[in-house]
Symmetry: C2
Subunit: 500 residues, 2 copies
Amino acid sequence: MKEEELKQFETWQMRLSAYQMALALIGIDKETVAPEDGTAYRDERTAVLDGEYYRIASDPAIYALLKRMKEDETLDHDTRRAAALAALYVKDMSHTLCVPQDEYVAYGRLLASAYPIWRKAKQHNDYASFAPVLKDIIAAKKKLYSYRQSCEDIYDQMLDDYEPGMNRRIYDDFFEKLTERLVPLIQKTVRAEQIDDSFLYQNYPVEGQKAFMKDLLQYVQFDPSWGYQNETEHPFTSWTCAGDCRTTTKYLPDNVISAILSTVHETGHAWYRHQIDPKYDGTILAEGVSSGMHESQSRLCENLLGRRRSFWEYNYPALQKQFPAQLGDVSLERFVKGINVTRPSLVRTEADELTYPMHIAVRYEMEKGIFNGSIPVEHLEEAWNDLYEKYLGIHAETAAEGILQDVHWADGDFGYFPTYALGSAYASQFMAAMEKQIDVDEALRSGHYETIMTWLREHVHHYGCSLTNEEILQKAAGESFNPAYYLQYLEEKYSRLYQL
Amino acid sequence: MKEEELKQFETWQMRLSAYQMALALIGIDKETVAPEDGTAYRDERTAVLDGEYYRIASDPAIYALLKRMKEDETLDHDTRRAAALAALYVKDMSHTLCVPQDEYVAYGRLLASAYPIWRKAKQHNDYASFAPVLKDIIAAKKKLYSYRQSCEDIYDQMLDDYEPGMNRRIYDDFFEKLTERLVPLIQKTVRAEQIDDSFLYQNYPVEGQKAFMKDLLQYVQFDPSWGYQNETEHPFTSWTCAGDCRTTTKYLPDNVISAILSTVHETGHAWYRHQIDPKYDGTILAEGVSSGMHESQSRLCENLLGRRRSFWEYNYPALQKQFPAQLGDVSLERFVKGINVTRPSLVRTEADELTYPMHIAVRYEMEKGIFNGSIPVEHLEEAWNDLYEKYLGIHAETAAEGILQDVHWADGDFGYFPTYALGSAYASQFMAAMEKQIDVDEALRSGHYETIMTWLREHVHHYGCSLTNEEILQKAAGESFNPAYYLQYLEEKYSRLYQL
């Protein structure tokens, strides 16, 4: 491999990351503060930059170079990093380059047309009006994957795209265990004496919530030198590099806990990105290793830290002080119980920690059925409702609260949902390992969030994509993915909470 | 001109505007909320995009095409617009393309190195340490202009770059009149009985200022659908299109009027950009016609509206209500007098309306001397101090408050300062014409800011660059640039205020 070629690779990588940065910042701006009247103008020009990005990202000459790099045995130790990098780029590019460009463009157009149809169908609770375009998306998706000429099952390929190494065999086992053990547990909690959490849903003026948020962001050490929080309708996390991670949150005036837990969740994503070794900045190694791994970090923060008693031993006095009328009489005990209440509900994004994975189990079954042909698109709504009945004992009255609630399928995202449940399971596995080494309760109670983040940096975050998720699990937890920790955690927690 | 070539031009213009948009948004993000730790990463990638932008903006094939378009007599009425556009692009590009690229790069590097030297020199009040690099900048500037092979004087060319049509002859006449009539007026105000404005400089908690700002932004109709205000150390206005204009402001906890007037100033720039005919969006015609014209709009808003009694007849009650302890006993009369106080001072950006143009006169004399060789760089500081003594009767004790106060020269910006004074003069000329047609006081008093903005749209804003500043003045005011209105306004206003 010539010096000159390595230089060409570096230049290409720099350009690629420059467009990624521009598109990330344009996206953040659009979602947070950009004035509405400029949307069409900006979108048109963003599409031009997107096109340039695509051209760079799928440059056939670079693809050829990367393939040579990947195979080059003569690269010395330091440039082996370049070879590993090249392998990751090659995988991504091969999936793009195998598809004829006009098909790609047509698919983009199909998705663009599907979004307003989905939105209108959701508004009108009319699944039938969405079904035809969903059918087209599924057909297009199959066509796109067919170009890969892989001998793997198509849905397995989709699962692997979001979570390298995963397939139906592993997920089947995971979701079977979940269903087997959580469905009866959920039923028991429904029959048990209910816990009062009504105090969480009073009038909580947003100004007061914002005042508390300042303290909370300090507590979770989301430092202004590398992080910035804004407000949006749908909270998200985005970034340009380790030193620049942005999150958003949403305040509800009649719910004190929503913005708090969403903040802890999003700053979990931000911490992950922040702690990836900065030497990987601007390369494909600086991405999170998989969707499930990213979700594991946000869910670990939200559920395993943010809903924990010791977290609130430190933070509850400040919250009470901010809202004396609403929380003055609510003990720490009652508050912590309240924020851990479980109750079967229809909408995934509002589900509690225990019922959440069953929402995912529904979607996993549906996606398998879609791609093995066992559930025709026309019958998806019935299948959806049947599964909710079976797993959670409830039934959507409207499509908006049922099959049309999520945008993912309208966006062509199949195989993504399972990573949400997987993330929670990874989180429990990491937490079990972490608690063998550090005193998590003591760290939370005494305001030393950095103790936990440091453990995560060393055992999970800093690798970026330089290891696989399997390798990270092995290093951090000493074994492969094992859902036992997650199930045990949920069973113990909710049995205790509901005195089952 | 072939259809295909016009298409090529459109595509080029779209690409150019896409990069302009990206760079504008990256710039706004950097100045407002971007976390510090990501600066180096982002700057490096911004430089890549800047480079791509430069390559597109100076594409020799497009330059040749634009020259043909500009000359093409066969273009029909509608495409004549394309010919006019082409002429503007050709002017810009010719200035860039005549310079050898390595000279351009070297100049960029020189400026990048000059900035920290200027900052350090300012911190240490040490002009001598800045003088050598300033000398280099001046030499480089002369070299860059020499490539244009123009027979015009070099400083005239610089003046024309910021303000097409302007030169030393017109500016000399302008600044002579200013000096002749304002210096004695300023001296009289100094000797007159002073006006109390100390109530403006008490403790004004920023939260209260922000609450009032919400009302004020509504009053000046800076609508969230097309505008957004943020906070920065140095207030500015930036935009992507007519439907997307961003401003910033800065709150001082011991000054109630600074953020207010800076907001009225910046929203003046924003209104100008917002009201340029949106059909010019994405083309060179959507720029303001000149620096002076842009400044005329911000200064008209800040000084001729924002310091006016009728403006405060509407707004003062809300401000008093926000700060009862500080302003409860201050009458509207006293308040309006207070915000119009004049007092010679050393720092341009903090100068009042009357003394401000003399700060500019100093800089104009200096720049002329620099380029005609009459003031050697080594003697600039003395010359500066002498001129301040002559025009304002005061003398800087430190270079930071004297010759090193502005960044412009360290940035290579010569010929820009005069447009600040010119803007104020244009503003008075427009205002005189406007007041013949609409009742400005009535509009301000009754909260109908749109009456004034509509007049400005029709007579100044909507043209964008499709007319020259001379043509706009002719249409709006019925005559060429005429400083008489400005002088008359200042003399009348300050004679009355100080009972001279």
